[in-house]
């Protein structure tokens, strides 16, 4: 029993916190669904939340860890949605119908095609930097959107959109949670592996990374491909959840929405991306239900004001000392300090320079003298030993 406790203590809980949190919510909501206590609107919101978590976690890989600004994430999603949706239409006429197995096939196709698109957009990323790359990714998203919009009605439905077969609504969100866990598993393990370290090294200093022997081409492409593949999976999920794929949805505003989730979550922070994706989706849906009719436009005003306020609060250099006192992290730290019995001082973190590092010269000299003495008079040393 004690060894088990000891083992539990040794696990780095920090590494598993995301799985545990997502897992608990998944189990909780699954039980509630089969208990029959969840209304259809909540189920729909859960689908949206899991989809947005997938998108923000995958974009987090490119923006937060690879350090490249991408404004075309919805483009990859669009590719996935159309590819997966089309395959679902074809499969629904076969023996497979539209069960879980056909979903898996659609998902694989969506991931592969979107990943290939990610490879294509990763190529310019090797030559372009910062805002130039951002505009190229934006351009890619718009090109994809335009191509699908102008497709013939037999292939992808053209401007009308593609109607995809209905999926059993009851447990679609469980698949969503499973996909989130899969994305977390792949991306978190990637980041903590040697390859992930290489990716973050490229973000921190590309030239230094190259000088250390990191294959920048390979890792940049790897980052883009994995991120795009998960966006494609999210797209397939979208086509199953909405039963309807229309290219207009996947415009640059959608990409920006996903980027907002990543930035508000704190770039390079997967837990943050999950939390902010959840909160933003809930906020959007709630505002939509509260503000109906004439007041519906107020939703965008409130959303925009909240967005500006949060970003300024989180990033303004002038608010730094204020922020250090009033973040959730500082709050938790203060609470822990209180429990341990020592008063918490917000400045402690910043005061590494006050830590005593001076060596007491008298002590050093006295030690040296003793050594000198002992070497000069070995006989006396021996005596004292006895």
């Amino acid at each position: 029993m004690t060894s088990l406790l000891q083992g539990l203590k040794n696990i780095k809980w920090k590494h598993y916190i995301n799985y545990i949190a997502v897992g608990i919510f998944a189990i909780l909501f699954t039980l509630m669904t089969f208990g029959g206590s969840l209304p259809q609107s909540t189920l729909y919101m859960l689908e949206e939340i899991t989809m947005n978590i997938l998108l923000s976690v995958s974009l987090c890989l490119v923006v937060g860890f690879l350090g490249e600004l991408s404004l075309g994430h919805a483009g990859f999603m669009c590719v996935g949605a159309y590819m997966g949706g089309k395959l679902a239409v074809i499969l629904s006429k076969t023996a497979l119908g539209n069960g879980v197995l056909s979903f898996v096939f659609c998902m694989l196709l969506g991931a592969v095609v979107a990943g290939a698109a990610g490879f294509l957009i990763g190529l310019p990323a090797l030559r372009l930097k910062g805002d130039y790359l951002a505009i190229v990714t934006l351009a890619f998203g718009e090109i994809v959107k335009t191509l699908f919009q102008n497709s013939s009605s037999e292939s992808f439905g053209g401007p009308v959109g593609l109607r995809t077969p209905r999926f059993d609504k009851q447990y679609l969100f469980i698949i969503g949670f499973a996909l989130v866990l899969l994305a977390l598993f792949v991306i978190q393990n990637l980041i903590r592996s040697k390859h992930g370290r290489a990716i973050t090294a490229i973000r921190d200093n590309e030239i230094a990374a190259k000088a250390t022997g990191i294959n920048v081409t390979k890792y940049k492409l790897l980052g883009f491909i994995i991120s795009a593949a998960f966006a494609g999976i999210a797209g397939v999920f979208y086509s199953f959840s909405h039963n309807y794929v229309k290219a207009e949805v996947f415009d640059y505003n959608y990409s920006i929405e996903i980027l907002i989730m990543v930035v508000l979550g704190g770039m390079g922070n997967i837990s943050g991306a999950i939390i902010s994706a959840t909160l933003i989706t809930v906020l959007n849906t709630e505002l939509q239900t509260i503000l109906t009719g004439d007041r519906a436009v107020l939703k965008d005003v409130i959303y925009a004001l909240i967005l500006i306020a949060i970003v300024i609060y989180n990033n303004a250099p002038a608010l730094r000392s204020f922020r250090e006192r009033f973040t959730p992290r500082a709050f938790v730290r203060r609470l822990l300090a209180k429990r341990k019995g020592n008063a918490y001082n917000a400045d402690d973190d910043a005061r590494w320079d006050v830590v005593p590092t001076k060596i007491d010269m008298d002590e050093v000299l006295s030690v040296d003298l003793k050594v000198v003495e002992s070497t000069m008079r070995p006989d006396k040393e021996d005596k004292s030993d006895e």
Partner: protein
């Protein structure tokens, strides 16, 4: 003859894009921020003209320009200045927030539907067999004059040279006694005034406005600025004209539905061949 009309049309659309791109490129070069709300200033200008038009067309244009300048200055004060020195992505997100805010405020005040704004009936002139709108000529002429004026302003006035200094090295400029905040405020005022005029000129072309009216021209102007080399004034002009001409030529062919895709594809190709744009300066990277 049809081709000449298309070309002139494209040049005037290019003039509009160039005006917006000039504002984009100045703000980007000097404040080092991607002002996503720049496109929405065009929309605000359109609505401001609509409001003041009942008095007098000339007065409406002046009022709209002044209003947009004030808006640009306010935007910088409230949303961007507190973030001076923060990560560029944070500023990008606030810019997006400001863009949403302007669009939704316009929707609350004026409604989501299209509104017609006919500034003045300027008529058209006939040169040989070609019939050209006076508005088109004004757009083209004004954008050329403004570009030249702006180049001269940047080169020969004290404020203009201070702008160049700030864009090259902000800290060094500050050490030389340049008031950075003042320069950035002036940049925003000029950029917004250009966007306001662009709003006027696009009303000459299509006399309707709606709250999301500025978003796409804003993005295209940014594309134009990048094609020309962001931070370069002649580059913005060149990129804008190029994009306008390409757009009008595409629209007159069966490829019309793919116009946006073609424009963006041109952007990607140009950036792949020359990563800093056509007239952009190559910055050497220090280790």
């Amino acid at each position: 003859m049809d081709f000449i009309i298309t070309l002139v049309n494209g040049l005037s659309l290019g003039g509009v894009y160039a005006m917006i791109a000039l504002g984009y490129t100045m703000v980007y070069g000097i404040a080092k921020l991607l002002n996503f709300a720049h496109g929405d200033v065009i929309m605000v200008s359109g609505y401001a003209i609509l409001v003041f038009l009942s008095f007098d067309p000339i007065l409406a244009i002046i009022c709209a320009t002044l209003f947009c300048m004030l808006l640009g200055i306010a935007m910088e004060r409230v949303a961007y200045r507190p973030l001076r020195g923060a990560s560029p992505l944070a500023v990008l997100i606030t810019a997006i927030g400001v863009s949403y805010l302007l669009q939704s405020l316009a929707q609350i005040i004026f409604g989501a539907a299209d509104r017609y704004v006919i500034v003045a009936d300027l008529g058209s002139i006939t040169l040989g067999e070609v019939k050209i709108d006076v508005g088109t000529i004004i757009t083209l002429g004004a954008s050329l004059v403004i570009m030249m004026a702006l180049s001269l302003f940047v080169k020969f006035t004290r404020t203009g040279r201070a702008m160049v200094a700030v864009s090259e090295d902000r800290d060094a400029a500050r050490l030389m006694g340049i008031n950075i905040n003042r320069i950035i405020t002036i940049t925003f005022a000029i950029g917004s005034a250009l966007a306001a005029l662009a709003g006027l000129f696009s009303l000459f072309r299509v006399p309707t406005i709606m709250p999301t009216y500025g978003a796409m021209p804003g993005i295209k102007a940014f594309v134009a600025a990048v094609i020309g080399g962001i931070g370069s004034i002649p580059g913005a002009m060149l990129g804008g004209i190029l994009l306008g001409v390409v757009e009008c030529i595409c629209n007159s062919t069966p490829l019309a539905p793919y116009t946006i895709a073609i424009e963006f594809a041109i952007l990607i190709v140009i950036l792949l061949v020359k990563p800093t744009g056509i007239l952009g300066k190559k910055r050497r990277e220090k280790v």
